[in-house]
């Protein structure tokens, strides 16, 4: 072997300076930027709508005492009024303020959905990653449990449990929803974790001496965030629907104010037959809007997870606007 050159690390000048690298922005233009994922979500029109709508509803829910002057559980006006200047959403046939009910109901409905989604996602992610990473009998046991829970249909189970449970508040609702919805996501997350487990960077972390715990939560999970987030949003809107469904059927605590219970009372008091559409249309629209917002945000998350779905080029947009056919470009 020839003798080494006296002191150079490399041959010739040092390797590429960071400033030469593609995509590098000059320092002068550095201003506060949103992280890449936030920008992407806002750029996609569907998820942008979803984020704005959801944010607006959360804001309304939080500011309920300020926005709705009346309490939802007080009789504050003449019964059966259509929407007017004093009561924007009208009054029920008992005299409750529908607007107050929708605004205050948002709190419970959204909170129950979020809490159930949180619980479900935590269980699903933990069990899914644990099963994938441990393998062996741990994997087999978790798979068995997951399969059992998968087979159980959620809504009938909810109804059955509810019939037996003495206390019917939102907390029980959250628990039951969380326990019946985690299984599907657990299976999906396990699959994704399995495919990531044999990637070289995980093996490299092992060789570096990283503990299993830190590999799973520090290296593996950050790569699964978009899938976990998508799952969270899914269970979130499923929970809103399930909860509203149960309450509509009378299984919730009918004295609490939620969108579902408002609908229950609307149906119970036959307001439809009386033509008082405002009693059920407004809570119904609120429900639909919340669910739609979450579904739309998931479109953006899809793009985050799969970069190939992104990107509309200026060229193809221009062509579409001009009414020109797309360029021939597909493989034979």
């Amino acid at each position: 072997m020839a003798a080494a050159e006296p002191e150079a690390h490399l041959d010739g000048p040092p390797a590429v300076l960071a400033a030469d690298m593609p995509g590098e922005r000059p320092a002068s233009r550095r201003r506060l930027r949103l992280p890449g994922w936030a920008r992407l979500l806002l750029r996609n029109p569907k998820s942008c709508f979803g984020i704005v709508a959801l944010a607006a509803m959360v804001l309304v829910a939080l500011l309920a005492p300020v926005i709705a002057q009346n309490s939802p559980s007080d009789i504050v006006g003449l019964p059966g009024q259509p929407p007017n200047r004093d009561f924007w959403f009208g009054t029920t046939d008992q005299g409750y303020d529908v607007f107050a009910q929708v605004v205050w109901g948002a709190r419970t409905s959204l909170a129950v959905g979020a809490a159930a989604a949180l619980m479900s996602t935590v269980i699903a992610a933990t069990l899914g990653m644990l099963a994938a990473f441990s393998g062996g009998w741990i994997d087999d046991t978790i798979n068995l449990v997951t399969n059992v829970f998968l087979v159980i249909p959620a809504l009938p189970l909810l109804i059955v449990v509810y019939s037996f449970v003495p206390q019917r508040g939102p907390i029980v609702m959250v628990l039951i929803l969380g326990l019946t919805t985690w299984a599907v996501e657990a299976r999906i997350l396990r699959g994704q974790a399995l495919s990531l487990r044999n990637r070289d960077f995980i093996q490299a972390a092992k060789v570096s001496g990283e503990s299993t715990w830190r590999i799973v939560f520090g290296e593996l999970m950050p790569n699964m965030v978009s899938r976990i987030a998508a799952g969270f949003l899914l269970v979130f809107y499923l929970s809103i629907i399930f909860a509203a469904g149960l309450e509509f059927l009378g299984f919730g605590d009918v004295n609490k104010t939620t969108w579902g219970t408002t609908l229950y009372w609307a149906q119970n008091n036959s307001t439809v037959l009386q033509g008082e559409w405002w009693h059920f249309v407004f809570p119904g629209v609120a429900l639909a809007l919340a669910v739609a917002a979450l579904v739309f945000i998931n479109y953006g998350i899809d793009e985050l997870a799969n970069p190939r779905l992104r990107r509309r080029t200026r060229s193809s947009l221009r062509r579409r606007l001009l009414g020109l056919p797309p360029r021939e470009s597909v493989t034979s």
Binding site: P13, D20, T313, R314, R327, S329
Partner: protein
């Protein structure tokens, strides 16, 4: 089904493909990147032309452009592609379907990318043939068997699934598929990169044999210059979207003129002969969104020195044109004067 035709042997038969100042751009909302910037190349009937360069130089994009399989945001925005003298870009969708695979076909780098893992090999041939011609399944299968034998695989393998074949055999299947409709030009994009050196040699020797027997031309795209020096008739070196040197392979090996070609040839550690410490090319290939002004290689060129002010001024401002320095030997470099 027509029997395998024999094309004119090399030297006769004229030009099969000619690229004239081809420009391919990736059009993004914020910028346009020229992946291929004014490439001119000629491929004669029965010739093996090598296109060598490193990742990002535009060689794969060139191959895709010839076959008209560029995906957005890539678009051909300039120049012409002439197959047997006729412009490919103006063809209708129907004509393009005839052009692809019958006139020009392609062998991809990874067989597992090109083969459907859940279909038997024979069925994939049938699928492909029926997409291009009216042929009965039994005839197509028989022809598939013929093609497998042509590339040295037992015809019974028509019933195998891709995963049942070794890597080398899968690559031969891809080559057989590329030859199925008797094209005049086969583009091979890194056909042996994923294979071991022994299998690679087997396959390339096979391709040479087939090429002599059937008379098709080959555009061989690869980063491995040593392969081309042994197997190609002529070689074109690509850098940052441009062709910087073309020559017959023997001439290129003996007398490379462009500094990048020289440096590239010196990047292969020798298996025989004296062992000396070698140098990598400093820096890295440029960002094609903002390539260096003038000669694109100048930031990394050992012959580009500010002290030589007159020459330096040209190197940083003027793009060198491809100039002939000998018969069939062209170089794009300010240091090289054209033939007087």
């Amino acid at each position: 089904m027509s029997p395998v035709r024999h094309h004119a042997p090399p030297g006769r038969g004229g030009t099969v493909l000619e690229l004239v100042d081809l420009v391919v751009e990736y059009v993004e909302p914020t910028r346009r990147v020229r992946a291929v910037d004014g490439v001119s190349l000629r491929i004669g009937a029965g010739e093996i032309v090598g296109l060598a360069g490193e990742s990002g130089c535009g060689k794969t994009t060139t191959g895709n452009a010839i076959l008209q399989i560029l995906r957005p945001p890539a678009e051909i925005t300039g120049g012409r592609i002439l197959f047997r003298g006729a412009d490919v870009a103006t063809r209708s969708r129907h004509e393009l379907r005839k052009y692809r695979w019958r006139s020009v076909s392609m062998v991809f780098q990874s067989a597992m990318n090109a083969l459907n893992p859940v279909m038997r090999v024979g069925d994939q041939f049938v699928d492909m043939m029926q997409a291009h011609e009216r042929v009965r399944r039994a005839d197509a299968l028989r022809r598939a068997g013929d093609l497998l034998e042509l590339v040295g695989i037992d015809r019974g393998r028509v019933r195998s699934y891709p995963h049942e074949l070794s890597g080398g055999m899968r690559q031969r299947v891809i080559i057989a598929m590329a030859l199925a409709l008797d094209p005049e030009l086969v583009i091979m994009d890194e056909p042996t990169t994923a294979l071991d050196v022994v299998v690679q040699r087997d396959i390339l020797v096979e391709v040479q044999r087939l090429q002599k027997e059937l008379g098709f031309a080959v555009l061989f795209i690869t980063h491995d210059l040593s392969l081309l020096l042994e197997f190609a008739h002529r070689i074109a070196i690509m850098y940052a979207g441009e062709i910087v040197e073309t020559a017959p392979s023997g001439v290129l090996f003996e007398r490379p003129r462009h500094p990048y070609t020289v440096a590239l040839m010196r990047s292969f550690p020798p298996l025989h002969g004296p062992l000396v410490r070698m140098s990598a090319i400093p820096g890295s290939p440029p960002d094609l969104g903002a390539p260096p002004a003038g000669c694109r290689f100048h930031p990394r060129c050992p012959h580009c020195r500010p002290e030589e002010s007159a020459l330096y001024a040209r190197q940083v401002s003027e793009r060198p044109a491809l100039r002939a320095v000998a018969d069939e030997h062209r170089v794009a470099c300010h240091l090289v004067e054209g033939r007087t």
